[in-house]
Symmetry: D2
Subunit: 315 residues, 4 copies
Amino acid sequence: MTRPLPAPADIEAALAAAWKVGKARCADGKVAAYIPELARVDPSLFGLAIHTVDGQSYSHGDAQHPFTLQSASKVFSLSAVVAASGEKVFDHMSVEPSGDAFFSIVKLEEEKGQPRNPYINAGAILTSSHLQGATADAKIDRFRTFLGQSSGLGAGAFPVNEDVFRSEADTGHRNRALAEIMRHHGTIPDVEVAVETYFRQCATSCTAESLARLSLYLVNNGRDPLTGKRVLAPASNHGIVALMATSGMYDEVGSHAIEVGLPSKSSVSGAVLAIAPGRMAIAGFGPALGQKGNSIGAMKALGVLAARLELSVYR
Amino acid sequence: MTRPLPAPADIEAALAAAWKVGKARCADGKVAAYIPELARVDPSLFGLAIHTVDGQSYSHGDAQHPFTLQSASKVFSLSAVVAASGEKVFDHMSVEPSGDAFFSIVKLEEEKGQPRNPYINAGAILTSSHLQGATADAKIDRFRTFLGQSSGLGAGAFPVNEDVFRSEADTGHRNRALAEIMRHHGTIPDVEVAVETYFRQCATSCTAESLARLSLYLVNNGRDPLTGKRVLAPASNHGIVALMATSGMYDEVGSHAIEVGLPSKSSVSGAVLAIAPGRMAIAGFGPALGQKGNSIGAMKALGVLAARLELSVYR
Amino acid sequence: MTRPLPAPADIEAALAAAWKVGKARCADGKVAAYIPELARVDPSLFGLAIHTVDGQSYSHGDAQHPFTLQSASKVFSLSAVVAASGEKVFDHMSVEPSGDAFFSIVKLEEEKGQPRNPYINAGAILTSSHLQGATADAKIDRFRTFLGQSSGLGAGAFPVNEDVFRSEADTGHRNRALAEIMRHHGTIPDVEVAVETYFRQCATSCTAESLARLSLYLVNNGRDPLTGKRVLAPASNHGIVALMATSGMYDEVGSHAIEVGLPSKSSVSGAVLAIAPGRMAIAGFGPALGQKGNSIGAMKALGVLAARLELSVYR
Amino acid sequence: MTRPLPAPADIEAALAAAWKVGKARCADGKVAAYIPELARVDPSLFGLAIHTVDGQSYSHGDAQHPFTLQSASKVFSLSAVVAASGEKVFDHMSVEPSGDAFFSIVKLEEEKGQPRNPYINAGAILTSSHLQGATADAKIDRFRTFLGQSSGLGAGAFPVNEDVFRSEADTGHRNRALAEIMRHHGTIPDVEVAVETYFRQCATSCTAESLARLSLYLVNNGRDPLTGKRVLAPASNHGIVALMATSGMYDEVGSHAIEVGLPSKSSVSGAVLAIAPGRMAIAGFGPALGQKGNSIGAMKALGVLAARLELSVYR
């Protein structure tokens, strides 16, 4: 359902106000330290971008600054896999919140290698192994082609940052452990292919601008409202967005629902992507993270935007 | 935001279709066995009721059959506590999904007696102990007064079923264990008062009809659209509804979000209450439960209703 | 098998040396704070007592100072129950180390109310509920009669400290939670009887002297070597001592085996009882506890004694 | 302490009786299925071997049949590491029972990559990575040289079974996961070196005969009583044997202590090695395993031997 959009001036004003509040919070956060390449990022960067279903776009601050998708990629690899092969990826994956940290291996062992949902690391690694192609290179080509086509920006807008990739591959022991557990239980066929694909997918670059643009199909029942291209069947799109609402923000999914009220996906690189169904996609980027690993500025800015523009889906 | 309502004839037709589909599923479920009084209920009972923000009401099947609120009461005890005392109840309670079974004591111990959220049993017992009044009787009076006033139906519409209460009190050892753990950590002051209040609150009766009516304030930003009475501040109401979306359906919150897409709260007595913000409250009642303890018919019927009337908040 | 005993002068010298080393360590520990009555004990108290199978006794320091048995009682309630009813108590209890803290409720829930072993709290509460008698009073009479007869000292040597009992009963919420979980799963019949018995049993007083004397049957295949009274069948006695070796020292059972090498049982009141099969029972008492909740002085002193007298069963 | 040995005729008779009882139990067990190479072993094989500190040896049944050490290797890799480098291996490893399955990753994650003890898989992999040498080949040479020298049989008596090694390397995903978790936390430096060493060490062959002979230093305070060679300092030997008593039999360490009463180490290939300090080493071999993964025949036979020869350390 397309819903009435706020007036452009109201969006502009709300965006400026939200940016100001979010920017001020960045000083309270810290950049991710566990991947060396990410630890070098400037914690004061902060940008916001909005794309609406009727083709308007707005941005403020560092909205053209490149960053790697990291966990925000999980939404799009899942979209690519479901677009190509339907719900088969859920044969060995549940759709429920995990209640544990994003890297947790505990439930994965207890539940026989079946990840709790596609937005925790284990589930995303399983999803990556379902991308079409026999090798990690082929799978990543497929992933980037999907990004390029779904956004109308071309795959070139989403290059892999090789330094970040190597940094993740060198330090991603916990993700390898998850993959080994799944390999043990037979839910993925090949550890190396799965984790290399996953690390490259996480190291794929975008900007707040391109991320919001890319996400318009999620806002619009699976069809890009600007190109008219159908990316996902409506029911599949609904499920992918619903999962953002219940499992998209790690261990802050509840407080984010209360404070913002939009299905969202965060990343350790500082992105928070929020979907206002029928209206707009919003991407925040602020690498200063709070204690739970989510961008402290982006979460706060989304709260301001959602309140001022009455965007929450729960009101 | 008040959203456009479907035409009455469309609601009637969708309700009839949903009832038929849900009723057919009841044969696949089982009534709750762990409380003797509940085990005697007829598993083929099935009713649906809708109340809209503009004052229309619809029902089908056993919508006037009395049942006990059980876990659906958690939404209203939380409302009553927040209405009276604000967010203080969250000083020792988180708002995140638990990822575990509703009765789980594991995270409660790990997290020093702080329940994960108000819709798991531990959180609801903590909430009950915050109801105004020094004794369980006083607290339950307060709770039932809240139900009566918020619904405009009077407290008499929500009597305590004493047989169910005694059955729960006699068998509620796991809930007592949760209360003892919280007492140990000082998050509740008195085990007996807390669990007696909780058992009586769970044993409070309603019908699908009265439950949907009672829930209109949740649909309407905290104000009853029919009486005009403000029950909760808008921000508090938003939080209580958002928590239904992330923690209202036990270990099926993710699949319910995918299949239905409405903030909901289920109960072991077979109720599922769903909130379509700005539009309507829907109450399903079917005591035949699926494997995860939620009404198998009510969940299915809500899926049909949400699809036909385009109610999902995620599309 | 009766094994050769060290010469009395060697025992005296080793005991004096061990006492000196242990006493010096007491300054590094802290008395238990979680039971108010225990928190008042003087942390510099330190005593050691030895009783040998040939009837000699030795002591040093505060060996006549009264303290409550606390968890050391678990060995004797288990002995009393097995003496009266055989191995039936193990129908709903395992015999394996838990790997968790002594109060842990996690495994108890996972394992359907079956305690991991009789020396964690849950297992001891289950054991207490198997003591003969319909009421807590009757069960405690039975327990104290067992202590009096097995030690040859009479039940009067083991009075219940009513202040400690009330202190434990008032604060024992975690133990009540364990009992409620077991009641839920049907492994104990009555929560109140079980926990009152358990709290009274824990609050039963002894001294290092009387505890070592009481334990001689454990040293001697179940028969008191001084009175000739058979307390337990040899196989039952073997099991009770073996369980001390694998589960008697909470989360220090491994390091205690390495440092001392004697089946032992510790208590939060500062006792460590050690069994040198065929030779002697040793009781240390020092209420200053280390980080894992075991008497820091008594563990150290036992290490010195075991080394000097070559008592370890693993060498 | 050298303890009096039973008469040779008594040992012979007890061994024959124990073999008969154990052999009869083999029909109730199953060979390990998770490593393909092990699944092919004849489940009716059953052998027992004894070596005494005074140089006698006894055997019955399939005591010369080769099998791979598997988890029995953990005792000897730990011995080799401690002999070469002292207790440094315990800088990042505890010595307590885990209370979980041998392959469990849960506590390893909770405890920041520090294994609970050297006899669960994680601890053994950590230990393997401490074997001297930069490569897996060098480390395994060191390990086999240790076996050869400590037993007086030469490294040739302990060849690596390459088929079993490859089978383990191909299927050892759970062990790789453990190693990745430890690598993440920095407790091992290299996953591939650690797991290849571990898999080769597990695939090292012996017989019940050679295993009992090899273990004589454990019986004799760290010095081989036949060659006179000191393998370990007495205190180190004591710790390694004590850990067998508290953590050597997976999730049957308690029941094995009760039924047998000897520090023991089992393996999935069907070995159970038992140490009677000061007297004898006993090796049972029967690949038919019980539900907890220990040789059902060997455990039973050890119970008979311990009872008849009064070997238990707890009596």
